[in-house]
């Protein structure tokens, strides 16, 4: 690593900028190794503690509680438990990062050394003092450090013989207990079996759909399809230019990198808010209870965020060869974009767009449920109006529509590939 001796300069390494950088980097790497293991261990222990408290409070105390003790006791407990686990056993974090606490100079890790390590850990590792040295001071003093764990040739121990395996098993059991307790209520389960008759009308529609609503439903289906088409179209217009600013390989330099980060972050936030929530926001905006316009805006916003992500990821995966070739012929930046990048992305972009259109058809039915117009709105009106037979009929239509579009989009995409 680093420059060959005496090549760039005759000075000792630590007097040169590169040498100092190197030294800092080595310390940072060592610190990061310990930090990763510790964070994983402490995080996992904290989650276990919270879940155990939660289950205890739920089943025994009949309330909700997350720690059962003051937060500082919780924090100290978690840190101590992580330290013990990391010092005396092969902890989860060590396992996940492929490391183990082992001797640095070749002798066995005796239990005495482990105790010393555990004690010194509080002084040197937790405050970070040890990392001012290279190799870290606690490694020098105790002779123990996080070494890569050689696993070749050794049969892995069964999970119930390892602390990490038992830990994960306990975590799973507690999680399931909490999940069942919180989400399943007895009365609802009883209703599941007692009230199956409520839904008979839905299924009756399968054999005798209500044909009198077909014309109205057909109209709403047309609206739904148009919603999907237009929202996709408008989203493409915005997402294509944005995608170039959201591609890491095109955005170089400090300004470019910050634009990239902000854009990707914003898109990620927008994407994690479901279109339904967007539809509600836009319904408030246009002040209407029902509006296909609000629905299309919701789909539009969500599609932009989704498409920018898909497009930009494709851009990041383009072949650099043509860019090199066209740059080498003396072409400018715009020409490189036009002749080396765009030809590579046109078909994938169209393919992603079709895929998104397919999703938008489904989403358009869903957005309708909150008043976004189209067939979904008709469906929810029937359901809440206890017209289950009509609702069943509409559902059949939705299935047919979704199938047709699904098939069409898949065929077109297969052609493009």
């Amino acid at each position: 690593m680093g420059y060959p001796e005496g090549y760039l300069s005759e000075r000792p390494a630590w007097t040169t900028g590169a040498g100092i950088q190197d030294a800092l980097a080595r310390r940072a790497i060592a610190a990061r190794r310990y930090l990763g293991v510790f964070l994983l261990d402490a995080g996992a222990l904290a989650i276990l503690w919270i879940l155990v408290s939660y289950v205890y409070a739920w089943y025994v105390l009949g309330t909700t509680a997350y720690t059962l003790v003051p937060w500082w006791a919780f924090a100290v407990g978690v840190v101590e438990a992580a330290a013990v686990w990391g010092s005396f056993g092969l902890s989860l974090g060590q396992r996940l990062l492929g490391r183990a606490l082992g001797p640095t100079q070749g002798q066995e890790a005796s239990s005495g050394a482990r105790v010393r390590y555990f004690l010194l850990w509080h002084v040197l590792v937790l405050p970070g003092v040890g990392f001012l040295f290279d190799p870290p001071l606690h490694e020098r003093v105790t002779g123990l450090g996080l070494r890569p764990r050689g696993t070749e040739g050794v049969a892995p121990a069964p999970w119930y013989r390892t602390s990490a395996g038992l830990f994960v098993a306990a975590l799973l059991v507690v999680t399931c207990a909490a999940a069942v307790g919180v989400t399943v209520s007895w009365s609802a389960l009883v209703r599941l079996f007692r009230q199956a008759g409520e839904t008979v009308d839905f299924w009756r529609a399968l054999v005798s759909p209500d044909t009198s609503i077909l014309l109205d439903a057909g109209r709403d289906m047309i609206v739904t399809v148009f919603m999907a088409v237009l929202s996709t179209l408008f989203a493409v217009v915005v997402a294509v230019p944005l995608s170039f600013f959201a591609a890491r390989n095109l955005m170089r330099g400090p300004l470019g990198r910050s634009v990239y980060t902000v854009l990707r972050g914003a898109m990620s936030i927008i994407r994690s808010i479901e279109p339904i929530i967007w539809a509600i926001i836009f319904l408030v905006w246009v002040t209407a209870l029902r509006s296909a316009f609000a629905g299309i805006l919701a789909l539009w916003v969500h599609s932009i965020a989704d498409l920018v992500k898909l497009y930009a990821e494709r851009l990041e995966a383009i072949d650099q060869g043509p860019i090199e070739a066209i740059t080498s012929s003396g072409a400018g930046r715009l020409s490189v974009l036009r002749y080396a990048i765009i030809p590579q992305i046109v078909n994938p972009y169209i393919s992603f767009t079709l895929y998104r259109w397919d999703i938008n058809i489904r989403m358009a039915t869903v957005v309708g449920l909150v008043g976004g117009g189209g067939i979904g709105q008709r469906l929810i009106n029937y359901i809440w109006g206890v017209q289950y037979r009509q609702a069943g009929t509409v559902m059949i239509l939705i299935v047919i529509l979704v199938w047709a579009i699904d098939y069409l989009s898949a065929r077109l995409r297969a052609k493009l590939a």
């Binding site: 060869g321 043509p322 070739a325 066209i326 080498s328 012929s329 003396g330 072409a331 020409s335 078909n347």
Partner: protein
Amino acid sequence: MVWQPMANPYLVVEHLTKVYERGQVLALRDLSFAVEKGEFLVVIGLSGSGKSTLLRCINRLIEPTSGKIWLDGVDVTRLSQARMRRVRRRIGMIFQQFNLVDRSTAIGNVLTGRLGYLPGWRALLGWFPKEDREKALANLERVGLRDKAYVRVDQLSGGQRQRVGIARALMQDPEVLLADEPVSALDPATSHSIMQYLEQMNRHDGATVIASLHFLSLARRYGTRIIALKDGQLVFDGPPNAIDNAKFKEIYGEDAEEVEVR
């Protein structure tokens, strides 16, 4: 290696050094040599010895860390990006992986060789002059691909693609042709046909060719001069027949296992 001044050098590389920031690889160390106009210079060396880096430094696809490169009396390492583009259009380049746009037609790829000569807005609209189109067809004819002009290049074979690459370089009317392992991805018979096109450009069009090659036999057959790189250093510079067995051992043999180390 000491660089002996030449009577009439065309391309001069002086103390060229390249350090890749990422991984801190020393790819070229203090490299110096000169090339005369009309030479066919072959660069040989193991993979990882810095051949690609050297060629890409010459047209500054990669920025050299230090050192100078004089092309026809101009120090290209000091040119601004805009002026570098004007120099680049006189330097054709051919690649190991062809670097064609797979989704374009053969002629579409060949035409991109003219982009350096086209005003930006025309390039953006794709309005190539009629002469350029005719020239592109003529160059495809020259490499024997006239009948594939409008076929997408992903339907062509490796040798055909490299010929498209050559036609693209021909569009630039290059004074210097850089060829980075142009035949490494091809079979022996095809390799010779590609090398013959390079030879033709060297002899008939007067282009100075700098080609990196993997096989010494090809280097001996086509080169007028050979330089050898090892770990980014110049270890040989001389006529093809000067490489004897001992030299060969020195370039390729001794530490073959060390070279792969990054």
